[in-house]
Amino acid sequence: MGRRTSLGTALLTVGALLSSSTVAATDQASDSGLRRKRSTDTSTQYKSRLDNNRSLDRKNQQRRLTEESERLPSPANNEGGTGDVGEDLARKFFLPTNRQAQALDDIDMQALILEMNFDGGSMSFQTPEPTPPPTVKPTISPTFGTYPPSTSTMPTLTNCDNEGTCENRLAEQIMGVSVRVGTVDTLSDPTSPQSQASAWILEECNADVPIDPCTSSQLILNEQRYALAVMYFSLTGDGWNAGSNAGLNKDAPAGTWMSGLNYCDWGTEISGANGSYNQLVCDEFGNVLNLNLRKYLYIYVGCEYEAAVMSLSLSLDECSLIHILLFFLHISSQSTYLQSQTT
């Protein structure tokens, strides 16, 4: 155990000495690195300031080594004694002699780093190779458009410069969406909301103002347009605006679902006793922010019909009795309807 302790002590001593040298070198490297960042410095200014600091750095190096050697226990005072073979070996092969220490001391680390990094008057530091700047957008290989149709579930990528590829491009997008949300299988069922929405949006390639399947900023909007269409077909959207569905009529007024190129205009403005809201709200980029398809009733308020959110907080104004009567009439009709559906 004693031997092992003595050998460990010696190795720790060596480690401390080497660590001290490393710290000194690191300090200098850090110092150099800090100065490296000052891009406004000229090479001449840099050299001049370096020369001025050399003598001070050398003194600091010597002082650090002296302090470390003083901290090191003397071999004669070691617990294992001078006869410890491990310690002797360590001293012989690891500890620098006075001459070696002096040689290390004479090395001007800063100058060495400068020589390594200074190249013909221009600052040439050893930094990782710069990453090439990104291209503006990914380039689609022109060979994509020549791919023959395949039986793969993945649609063929198309070149938007070719005529007749709008449908393929949209189909590609729809497939991507279906993979993402896990509805690929539904596309093979022609009655599924996904298939209906797909057929509907593909038709828009031939509309008066055809859908744009190529512009990168438009692609994400096309995806949302398709998603809204799927929701429309899945959730009996014909009832979202009293059964109106203007199809591909580009002149359809705002508030008509599934009409016109801008789906942000599809939502109906609903006003009622509890304020108003729009069924569909987009941000300035055309992304869907709010989808509000709550059930609302047409009730009689203030002698005029208007749409209102179904609410039990009806005010007791002069028409409150009519409100309540109409409310119960509606519930009754709904109940009758549901009973007829179940039977």
Binding site: V177, A227, V230, L235, D283, N290, L293, R294, K295
Partner: protein, 117 residues
């Protein structure tokens, strides 16, 4: 409004509010709901929906971490309330009365310091 909410709702990835209470929506909540990370309000109260109410795709660590209002009362939802509900730290309204939820309320619900209802 009758029928299931399709998984394509997850494509509306910028949506902050989906409100469809007092309807006849059926089926489960699509797991793709978890793709809508900005979602703050999800209100399907009083429909005919079923399936597990809290699914890990949207109620887990990578789920609806911005959700403020999650209203699902008056449906036929099942399952228990997972401990991950404690990750919905912005939650203010959590409504799931009149369902078939089982199990115990996890202690992590104590993390929801903004909850009011």
């Amino acid at each position: 409004m009758i029928g299931p909410i399709p998984p394509e709702i997850g494509v509306l990835q910028y949506m902050t509010s989906y409100i469809s209470f007092f309807n006849a929506q059926s089926g489960a909540i699509p797991t793709s709901l978890g793709l809508i990370t900005p979602l703050e309000t999800f209100d399907v109260e009083s429909n005919n929906m079923d399936g597990n109410l809290f699914q890990p795709e949207y109620a887990g660590a990578d789920g609806l971490t911005n959700i403020v209002n999650f209203r699902a009362s008056l449906n036929n939802f099942r399952g228990d309330v997972p401990a991950e509900i404690g990750l919905w730290t912005k939650l203010q309204n959590l409504w799931f009365a009149d369902n078939e939820i089982t199990g115990t309320i996890p202690a992590e619900i104590g993390n929801l310091v903004d909850m009011s209802k």
